[in-house]
């Protein structure tokens, strides 16, 4: 699976043959052509390219961090660092018996509040519908927001979560990663908070380096001693 990784740019032929084109590739005759700058992944019957650049495009079931930008009497609008705004209906927060007359939306969420949300529905005809009615979702009361490039989120999580576990264990911080590249870090000790933020920024800057987990570990430990 991993043995055929290759760097590609738009127009490069990824492979030829009977493969199913998945993300960021198009089929032209029997050639599979990349449409973005990225790293190829060839599976038994399908091909995809992991992008290295670009905006966040919402996907159903993604966890995102959003910032409330405005509200109407029925819904909030969230900035989810994408080309579309997240749409959060008031019923999702107040429950089924929500009444536009009786309930004041600002009593729950104000402009500027950070929210952990999940993309409930998204298609090309409408703005993404987000929900906060689930465990671990909802308004974020404490923590610092760190913005990284959305294409580097998988690197921050690491293989089976190794990278993020390393950072969390070394700093005792609680880190919430939104797929849209926004990360909330909260930690009881100020040093741990600073270190965790530094580590996240380091991953963002050095995402292409091979043994990054070790480097991050080293950085976290060296700071702890001094």
């Amino acid at each position: 699976m991993d043995n055929k990784r290759k760097y590609v740019i738009p127009g490069d032929v990824v492979t030829t043959g009977p493969f199913r084109p998945e993300q960021n590739v198009i089929l032209d005759g029997n050639k599979i052509i990349s449409t973005t700058i990225g790293i190829t992944e060839i599976y038994d019957d399908s091909v995809k390219v992991i992008p290295l650049t670009g905006k966040y495009i919402p996907k159903i079931n993604d966890l995102v961090i959003g910032k409330v930008i405005s509200h109407t009497s029925l819904s909030w609008e969230l900035d989810i660092n994408s080309c579309y705004v997240g749409f959060l209906p008031a019923q999702d927060v107040f429950g089924r018996d929500f009444s536009a007359h009786a309930d004041e939306l600002t009593s729950k969420l104000k402009s500027g509040d950070l929210v952990a949300a999940r993309i409930a529905n998204f298609d090309r005809t409408r703005d993404p519908l987000v929900t906060i009615s689930d465990r671990d979702l909802g308004k974020i009361d404490s923590g610092d927001l760190v913005k990284i490039s959305p294409s580097k989120v998988p690197r921050l999580i690491g293989k089976r979560g190794t990278m993020i576990q390393t950072i969390e264990m070394a700093t005792n911080a609680a880190i919430t990663i939104g797929q849209n590249g926004w990360v909330v870090v909260s930690c009881e000790s100020p040093e741990g908070l600073l270190k965790a933020k530094k580590a996240i920024q380091m991953v963002d800057e050095k995402a292409h380096i091979a043994n990054l987990t070790d480097q991050v570990k080293e950085m976290l430990e060296s700071k702890g001693e001094s």
């Binding site: 290759k6 760097y7 740019i9 738009p10 127009g11 490069d12 032929v13 960021n24 198009i26 032209d28 052509i33 449409t35 973005t36 700058i37 992008p51 290295l52 650049t53 670009g54 905006k55 495009i57 080309c83 579309y84 090309r124 005809t125 294409s151 292409h208």
Partner: protein, 244 residues
């Protein structure tokens, strides 16, 4: 045009052009991807004496809203020449020529960019010509495709562009300012090498059908040279040099 241009030798008996190039030799080309922090994608090109900077934003919200399209994203291109880009100060207001070139570049990029993936959004391409020396539209188009790729906008292929032309009854590659002024024909060509499609073809001048075919052939081959440099620019930025 004064008497000097009329007597200038555009092509000598050894097949050497007025700036010392061979007939099928492009000018020195340098492309750099990235460089602007605040734009989503950017590129800088030096194409002979041309110096052009391109910044790309998007996909992003469309303003004014009525311009948006529910079926697809839209592409907006602004080609602009700085007042200091030419010998005599150029009025910075968009001229007839700049509006036309903006449209031409937009239409040359549209077949490459897969905007249908982002309905109701806009991709903005801002092209600033810092220094002009003939063939800016080709250089700008080449740089704009690199900037779009840098911004992560899905593309079928990058568009490479170069001009072919005719001076002293000979078909040449990469027309410079002098050859454009005093030559017989100028044909800018935009080409997607991987999918083998031409996206821009203009012609100013008179060519016989045979010369026309020769010009297209020479131009397409020139585009492949530009294409390799575009790929190199992106490889350098994202993967370091030498890797692939």
């Amino acid at each position: 045009m004064g008497g000097r241009e009329a007597t200038m030798v555009l092509l000598d008996e050894n097949g050497i052009r007025c700036d010392g190039r061979k007939v099928d030799e492009p000018r020195r080309i340098m492309i750099k991807a990235g460089g602007l922090k605040n734009a989503d994608g950017s590129a800088y090109i030096e194409f002979g004496e041309n110096k052009i900077l391109v910044g790309v934003f998007g996909p992003r919200d469309v303003h004014p809203k009525h311009m948006s399209n529910t079926d697809t994203g839209i592409l907006r291109v602004r080609y602009h020449m700085e007042p200091f880009s030419v010998g005599e100060r150029k009025n910075p207001a968009p001229s007839r020529r700049e509006i036309e070139i903006s449209k031409v570049i937009k239409e040359a990029l549209e077949p490459a960019v897969m905007l249908e993936k982002f309905p109701r959004t806009a991709v903005d391409v801002y092209i600033e010509v810092l220094q002009a020396d003939g063939g800016t539209r080709c250089a700008a188009l080449s740089a704009a495709s690199v900037a779009l790729a840098d911004a992560g906008i899905p593309m079928r292929d990058m568009v490479a562009a170069i001009a072919a032309g005719k001076v002293a009854d000979t078909v040449i590659l990469d027309v410079n300012n002098e050859e454009d002024q005093a030559g017989q024909a100028d044909m800018p060509i935009g080409y997607m090498p991987s999918v083998e499609k031409i996206t821009l073809l203009q012609l100013d001048g008179v060519l016989t059908p045979e010369e026309y075919k020769k010009c297209v052939e020479v131009g397409v081959n020139g585009c492949k040279i530009v294409y390799d440099l575009q790929k190199k620019a992106l490889n350098d930025k994202y993967f370091g040099s030498g890797e692939d």
